[in-house]
Structures are given as structure tokens and as C-alpha cells.
């Protein structure tokens, strides 16, 4: 509020912000930014190392690795955004209802969340994908479902803290209905930690989507995704390491960027760190 911003403290978050912004812009403007289409073949230049024509080399079919990595950004962002949103919304609804109404509803919802939580994330995703079938949409769904228990626990704990506040009692005492109490008194006071969690979920979703694609469960070839690019590149590590290294670096940088932003958000919302 009119104060000087303490830049050194926010330096990392700022770097993260720049990365995130770049990645988002690249995803949106992929057709404009990429030098080639993701499926364009250059059969004369198969497994070419980086050249002026192909700055980051070509793959085993002569497709431009840079262009494929750029188009793959779209899949990653779509999946991560939808999955994080799904986890945030469904998890928050479940957590708030469990904490607000308590009793047997709390018991049933939370035991169900614990069952979901007890599966290793990747195993659960693979099982869900096996059940739902392999597609980008199902990858979003599977990853989103993985996030639901985490968000629901966070939302439940935060709601329980708010329910102990006297302003909730005051709202009940004036006869305010449940929906209105949740919308006016509860949600605005629990949203900050949930948004921080959503940023963390976003970067984890990028990793999970890459893993699923690597296992052949996400985006299907020939559509590019970072995971399936690494997977195909694996066979050419000796002759053409760039096929795997480029999407690997893309994953690393993007996840780093979102994590830095997430940490920055957490600090910004943490009253103990306010200077």
C-alpha cells in the first residue's frame, strides 16, 4: 500500500513469473512462434543436430524439435490448468461441506478422501487411465482426481479454523443461511492457502502429464507432448540426445517457474513473513 517493494526478497518469484509468463505466451502463440508445424517432416534432415534451419535439431522423422517442444507446451498447460482447477474446485467443495456440516457427512467424505490418498499418485493415475482409456482429456481427469484429496483436506482444515471464529456465530445469529455463510464468511477467508496449493498442483500436474505421456498414456503420437518426445528420444540418446534433452529442459524450466511463483504466493499470503 504505497510502500516500497522489497525486490531482493521477491527476486526469485519475479524470475519464476517471467518464466511462467513466457511459457504461457509460447503456449498461446505456438503457431506464430514455432518455425515449423509440429508434424512437418524434413526427410532430408533426419536426426540432424542443431543447425541454422533447425535450431534445436530434428528427430528420427526429420521433425523440428524446437517446434514440437513449443506445440507440446499447449498440451502441458491445458492438462495442468484443467487438472489443477478440477482438484481445486471439487476438493474445496468437499472440504468445505465436510467441515461446515460435520458429523456423518464429514466422516464419509473424509474416509473416501483417505482411500484416494492412500494410492501412490502415479499408480492411481495409471489405473484411472487404464480404466478411462488413453487420451489427453482422460489425463486431465486422472490428474485432477489425484489432486482432490489434498485440496479437500486443506479446505476442511481452513474451514474448521474459520468456523471457530465468532463472525460465523454472528452470521448464524442474524439468521444467515448456509449458502450465504459459506459464500460470504467462509470462502473469502480460506481461499489464500488454496490458491497457493493450486500453484503447487499446477507444476506437479505438468510433471504427472509428462510421466503419463512418457508411459504412452497421455497425448498420443504423432501429437507432440514433452513426455512422449522424451520417450521416443530415449532410443536415440547416443546419436541424437537433443530429442530428449530439449523437452526435458522445457519440463525443468516450466516446473521451476511455477514452483518459484508458488513459493512467492505462499510468502505473500503468509502474515508471519509480512515486512
Amino acid at each position: 500500500m504505497g510502500r516500497e517493494i522489497n525486490w531482493p526478497r521477491w527476486r526469485l518469484a519475479l524470475i519464476g513469473g517471467v518464466i511462467v509468463l513466457t511459457v504461457l505466451l509460447v503456449a498461446i502463440f505456438a503457431p506464430q512462434v514455432a518455425p515449423y508445424g509440429p508434424l512437418d517432416l524434413d526427410v532430408a534432415q533426419m536426426l540432424s543436430p542443431p543447425t541454422a534451419a533447425h535450431p534445436l535439431g530434428t528427430d528420427e522423422l526429420g521433425r523440428d524439435v524446437l517446434s514440437r517442444a513449443i506445440f507440446a507446451t499447449r498440451v502441458s498447460m491445458q492438462v495442468a490448468f484443467t487438472a489443477a482447477l478440477l482438484g481445486l474446485v471439487v476438493g474445496t467443495v468437499i472440504g468445505v461441506l465436510a467441515a461446515y456440516f460435520g458429523g456423518w457427512l464429514d466422516l464419509v467424505l473424509m474416509r473416501f478422501m483417505e482411500v484416494l490418498f492412500s494410492f501412490p499418485a502415479i499408480l492411481l493415475a495409471v489405473v484411472l487411465m487404464a480404466a478411462l482409456g488413453t487420451s489427453v482429456f482422460n489425463a486431465m481427469l486422472a490428474i485432477g482426481i489425484i489432486f482432490i484429496p489434498g485440496f479437500s483436506r486443506l479446505a476442511r482444515a481452513a474451514t474448521q479454523a474459520v468456523m471457530r471464529q465468532q463472525y460465523v456465530e454472528a452470521a448464524q445469529a442474524i439468521g444467515m443461511g448456509h449458502t450465504r455463510i459459506i459464500a460470504r464468511e467462509v470462502l473469502p477467508n480460506i481461499i489464500a492457502p488454496l490458491l497457493v496449493e493450486a500453484a503447487a498442483a499446477f507444476s506437479y500436474a505438468i510433471l504427472l502429464e509428462s510421466m503419463l505421456s512418457f508411459l504412452g498414456l497421455g497425448a498420443q503420437p504423432p501429437d507432440p507432448s514433452w513426455g512422449n518426445m522424451i520417450s521416443t528420444g530415449r532410443g536415440f540418446m547416443a546419436q541424437a540426445p537433443w530429442i530428449s534433452v530439449v523437452p526435458g529442459c522445457a519440463i525443468f524450466l516450466t516446473v521451476l517457474g511455477f514452483n518459484l511463483v508458488g513459493d512467492g504466493l505462499r510468502d505473500a499470503f503468509d502474515p508471519h513473513l509480512r515486512d
Binding site: Q166, E169, A170, A173, I174, G175, R184, P188
Partner: protein, 269 residues
């Protein structure tokens, strides 16, 4: 006295417990009290004596395990629909902790507007006018309306809490330690405001406190509670001058300097 406005009949509340979990904890046990219209009943007792639980029961936020509460002759447990809404309009609380009484993300205006919105009273402009007038009435300027709770001092927050409690024109105000979190000098001001508004609106009031000097200042009748039970109940002067029970005598003796407390009462009168 023949026709009390608030009647608490043999109310008990047990927390926890159940078929397999043992007997639970009795917070309130067999308490009966009666308050005539327009009077203030002070409830004293140390922490954990069940006084706040009793207040929540009268407020209708906690269901008693046994017994009844009647307000204006109506059993509050039987209220549904419109009757319940009407009860919520007529019975309002003022809470103990000014720090947690208000949603930290809403302005004072939004906080004071909520009761009017819930009960559909007035147009937008009428509501704003009522809020401004009421803020003036509790000794705050209209400029406070646009502030957030954390920008107010404890005393100012309790003034807003009183404003919120009376904005619906209630008949009953239930105050749970409304001054215990405040400095002594501010306590006196808020108590004076409370007493003035109580008299102006003819409110029937339950006033819970562990502070005997405060209770003596605002109450017509006094109830003393210990471990969830009613120990003594009678007109304020009688309880203070000639306590019948040993526990009451010890409570009064425990006030650091009674003469000082009484002197302050006179100074405020």
C-alpha cells in the same frame, strides 16, 4: 416478576459422550433463571463455569440436552421458518473477542449491512443511512463505515459489535464478556454505552462476565454459576451486599480492591 420475558427452565448441556463413549462433560446442569422485560441479568462465574454455553443455548446456536428456553412465552426449540427468522431478528449477541467477531475481509459497512440484507429490511440507500446513523449513535463517525476491522481499536470494534447487535431492533441482547478483552478505561466507556443503549431500547439483557465490578454496574439481577450449576440467583444489591452462598462470598472477596471497584461504579453513574 410474575411474567418473565426470558425464562430458562432446568436447562442442561452435556458435551461429548454417547453410547460407547462414557458420560461426557456437563457444561450446564439444571439451570433455571428468569428475566423480566427490560432488565439485565448478570451471570458471573469463573472460566469453565458454563456461562458462555448457557448464552449460546439462549441464542439458539446450541441445543440443550435437557430443559427449555422460553422467550416471550415461546419455546425457542420449537421455532421453524418465519418464526425462527423472527426470533433471529429479536435476539442478538455481542461477543467477547473483538478480534474474531468480524470477517476480516469485509468493511464495517458490509458487516452492518448483512443483518438488514438477510431480513430484507430497507432499500440500499435506507440501509446505508441507517448504518451511518447507528455508527453515530455508538460514538463512531460515518467514516468508520468504509474501514476494515483490523483498522479499528478493540473499543471501536466493540462499539461496532453493539451496533450490529441492535441494527435489527432486537428485544433481547446477549452479551458474552463484551468488555473483558479491553483496557480498563475503554471498558468503562463501552459499558456506559451498553447501559445507555439498553435503557434507550428497553432491551432485556443477559450479560456474562467474570468481572464482578462490571456485573454489579450493569445488572438488575445476578446469577452466580460454578461448574455448570447455578449457585446463587437474586437481585444484584442483595447478592453483593448479603451473599447467601460461600462461593459467592469467596468470589466477592477475590476482587482485588472492592472499594476501588465500587468507587469506579459511582464515578460512572
Amino acid at each position: 416478576m410474575s411474567n418473565p420475558f426470558i425464562e430458562i427452565r432446568n436447562v442442561s448441556k452435556t458435551f461429548g459422550g454417547g453410547m460407547f463413549r462414557g458420560p461426557g462433560v456437563a457444561a450446564v446442569e439444571g439451570v433455571s433463571l428468569a428475566v423480566p422485560r427490560g432488565q439485565t441479568l448478570g451471570i458471573v462465574g469463573e472460566s469453565g463455569s458454563g456461562k458462555s454455553t448457557l448464552l449460546r443455548i439462549v441464542l439458539g446456536l446450541t441445543r440443550p440436552s435437557a430443559g427449555q428456553v422460553l422467550i416471550g412465552g415461546q419455546d425457542i426449540a420449537s421455532l421453524r421458518g418465519t418464526a425462527l427468522r423472527d426470533f433471529r431478528r429479536r435476539v442478538q449477541p455481542v461477543f467477547q473477542n473483538p478480534a474474531s467477531s468480524f470477517n476480516p475481509r469485509q468493511t464495517i459497512r458490509a458487516i452492518l449491512r448483512a443483518p438488514l440484507e438477510v431480513h430484507g429490511i430497507g432499500t440500499g440507500r435506507e440501509r446505508d443511512a441507517r448504518i451511518d446513523a447507528l455508527l453515530g449513535h455508538v460514538g463512531l463517525g460515518p467514516e468508520f463505515a468504509e474501514r476494515l476491522p483490523h483498522q479499528l481499536s478493540g473499543g471501536q470494534k466493540q462499539r461496532v459489535a453493539i451496533a450490529r447487535a441492535i441494527i435489527l431492533d432486537p428485544q433481547v441482547v446477549l452479551a458474552d464478556e463484551p468488555t473483558s478483552a479491553l483496557d480498563v478505561s475503554v471498558q468503562a466507556q463501552v459499558l456506559r454505552l451498553f447501559a445507555r443503549i439498553q435503557a434507550e431500547l428497553g432491551l432485556t439483557t443477559l450479560f456474562v462476565s467474570h468481572n464482578l465490578a462490571v456485573i454489579r454496574q450493569v445488572s438488575h439481577q445476578v446469577a452466580v454459576m460454578q461448574h455448570g450449576r447455578l449457585v446463587e440467583f437474586g437481585p444484584a444489591e442483595q447478592v453483593f451486599r448479603a451473599p447467601r452462598e460461600d462461593y459467592t462470598r469467596r468470589l466477592i472477596a477475590a476482587v482485588p480492591d472492592p472499594r476501588h471497584a465500587f468507587a469506579r461504579k459511582e464515578a460512572l453513574a
